[in-house]
């Protein structure tokens, strides 16, 4: 490898060289640069590149000088000390302003509990009043965060395909399924009198069904699928029951219905007081071949802990949609409310 040691190697005029040669030439010049670069004189034949005030990064480079590149491909540009100062000032101003804006936006979306934990009341009042002044109040925050949830729900709905099946497992893959009743587990007293009421039917009159009306009527299906909880844990369970799709054929909803609201009147809160649970299910998901109205687990009738005598099993939805001990189904054209959505969780919950 020859390395030019002599800085006086003449630099011919440029302009006709191919890009590759240009970059090689630039590199040669750089590599040949003397230990003391200040002694290098500008090329004789070429006028020194004009001090373009607009010689900015990313700006068109044809104006000032031909492109010069380091061997690794990085571009060299001419920028006078004055321009460097000017550009640095501008960019650091933008950087600072953006940092302030980002910090404000970050604070604006922080949950109230987090603010209460890290800030004193005085600091909170000060920041909240600042925040309100720039239009980033609590209402705006709720809107932004709920938009994120709806957007994510819309993505999930767009991803949904009625033909796509969830993964099924073998018996050896079974895991314990935790009883994750949000409140207390109800007493089994309700089971003998249990009835399922169905409303919003095509016929108009609601239907009231006992478990004996249902079990003989539909074909029993068994499947081993994963139940994914919104909290992050999951469990593989063996469920038996009949397809919601077949139930929908037997008890067809009124024309135009797109939703089902499933309710459980036996649900209790953590103090043991009645706390009816309800979920919204889009009928597209209800008609999925793996969506069951489950009556059995591990080949046995459902236990109270898991929603005897009939629960929803929709493995393409989060666990919280898999309502236990269903007592009422209402079909509707409009989207019904959902228990956890009212508490800040998403409402489509498609997996």
């Amino acid at each position: 490898m020859t390395t030019p040691e002599d800085p006086s190697v003449p630099a011919p005029p440029t302009g006709e060289t191919a890009p590759d040669e240009v970059s090689a030439g630039a590199a040669a010049t750089l590599d040949a640069a003397p230990r003391n670069p200040t002694t290098t004189e500008p090329e004789g034949s070429e006028p020194p590149p004009p001090d373009e005030p607009e010689a900015e990064i990313g700006a068109d480079e044809t104006a000032a000088s031909p492109p010069a590149r380091l061997p690794d491909g990085r571009r060299l540009v001419t920028l006078s000390p004055a321009d460097r100062r000017r550009q640095s000032r501008r960019d650091f101003f933008l950087f600072g302003a953006s940092a302030v804006a980002a910090a404000a936006a970050f604070y604006a979306v922080l949950p109230d509990t987090t603010r209460e934990r890290i800030l004193s009341e005085g600091e909170r009042e000060f920041l909240d009043s600042l925040e309100a002044r720039v239009g980033l109040g609590a209402k705006r925050r709720e809107n932004i965060l709920n938009r994120a949830l709806t957007f994510d729900d819309d993505v999930a709905e767009a991803l949904y395909s009625p033909r796509r099946l969830v993964r099924t497992y073998r018996r050896s893959d079974l895991t314990p399924v935790p009883n994750n009743y949000a409140g207390e587990t109800p007493d089994s007293d309700y089971i003998p009198d249990w009835k399922l009421t169905v409303e919003g039917l095509a016929g108009g009159t609601p239907a009231t069904l006992g478990i004996g009306d249902l079990l003989p009527r539909f074909r029993r299906r068994d499947q081993i699928t994963r139940l994914c909880c919104v909290e992050g844990w999951s469990a593989i369970g063996w469920w038996g029951g009949f397809r919601f799709a077949e139930f929908l054929e037997a008890f067809p909803p009124e024309p135009g219905a797109r939703w089902a609201k499933l309710e459980s009147s036996v649900n209790l809160d953590s103090d043991g007081d009645p706390d009816p649970y309800f979920v919204s299910i889009d009928l597209a998901t209800a008609r999925h071949p793996q969506t069951l109205l489950a009556t059995h687990q591990n080949g046995e009738p459902l236990s109270v802990e898991h929603g005897a005598p009939l629960r929803l099993l929709a493995p393409m939805k989060l666990g919280l949609k898999n309502i236990k001990a269903v007592t009422r189904i209402v079909y509707s054209a409009a989207e019904p409310p959902d228990y956890w959505n009212l508490q800040g969780y998403s409402k489509y919950d498609g997996l």
Partner: protein, 270 residues
């Protein structure tokens, strides 16, 4: 490769007016946007983790805890000065390093919001890499293997050499990044992509079942996602330390885009 002597030279050699373009504006913007976005992802992610810890063990006899991060809280309350009075040791870690415990709905909303911002920001970064040609400085070469060893040797000996006041030269650098830097900076977009992919695998295991399987199932995807969190943390700490050690020019180049360190052959520490 050193260029040929006879190659024609261009306008100006390394005059003091020349600067080297380091980072495309989109790369700089996405780099800094990562600060609030990753912070929000980590803080909300750990809050989500509280609801169902990823790494668990059999209940401890004394505390009943099954969560390693909760264990850290018990340890901290017992040993960290000033934390003795903390009322709920089980939540200590989450109350100090996340948005807080018991706010799953809030944390999920923030995690989704910032996840979409993170993905958009990643696209911005890739666009900047493509437009500015910065990807060239990130792609490793086979010949980097030897350079990596030299850099490891350099880092390993740096502190002893400083203590013994020995001259400990930086291995010569002909490129934007040394081979270890290259690996570090390349690992971040890869880790970002893996964090997004494992996130989707957990978020849509039914519709994106192939992705869930790719990571070896739902629980493994969770584990990888959680592991990547710590990889980001493990990257950021030395990253900040090394940028401070490297000096103002390096920091400034991520704001203004250019560096005054135009390498010459004699430069060892570009």
């Amino acid at each position: 490769m050193l260029p040929e002597v006879t190659a024609p030279a261009t306008a100006a050699p390394a005059t003091p007016d020349r600067v080297v373009v380091q980072h495309h504006s989109l790369v700089r913007i996405s780099h800094w946007l990562n600060v609030p976005i990753l912070l929000a992802m980590i803080l909300s992610g750990l809050s989500i983790c509280w609801a169902a810890p990823v790494l668990r063990h059999a209940p401890r006899a004394r505390t009943g805890s099954t969560d390693y991060l909760a264990d850290l809280g018990y340890w901290a309350v017992a040993h960290v000065p000033g934390q003795k009075g903390f009322a709920t040791p089980r939540t200590w870690f989450y109350d100090h390093f996340s948005l807080g415990h018991g706010i799953l709905a809030e944390a999920l909303r923030l995690h989704w919001l910032f996840a979409y911002l993170f993905m958009a920001n990643g696209l911005l970064y890739l666009l900047g890499l493509a437009l500015g040609g910065g990807y060239r400085s990130l792609l490793p070469r086979l010949s980097d293997a030897r350079g990596s060893l030299a850099m490891m040797r350099y880092y390993a000996g740096l502190l002893p050499a400083k203590l013994l006041r020995r001259h400990w030269p930086h291995p010569p650098l002909r490129e934007k990044y040394n081979p270890l830097q290259k690996l570090g900076y390349l690992s971040m977009p890869l880790a970002g992509g893996a964090a997004v992919a494992t996130g989707w695998a957990m978020h849509k295991p039914a519709q994106l079942g192939w992705l869930e399987r790719l990571f070896g199932g739902y629980d493994r995807a969770r584990f990888f996602h959680f592991f990547l969190l710590w990889l980001f943390v493990a990257f950021v700490i030395p990253h900040v330390v090394l940028v401070i050690a490297d000096g103002w020019d390096t920091f400034r180049s991520m704001v203004v885009g250019w560096s005054e360190r135009v390498p010459r052959r004699s430069d060892d520490d570009a």
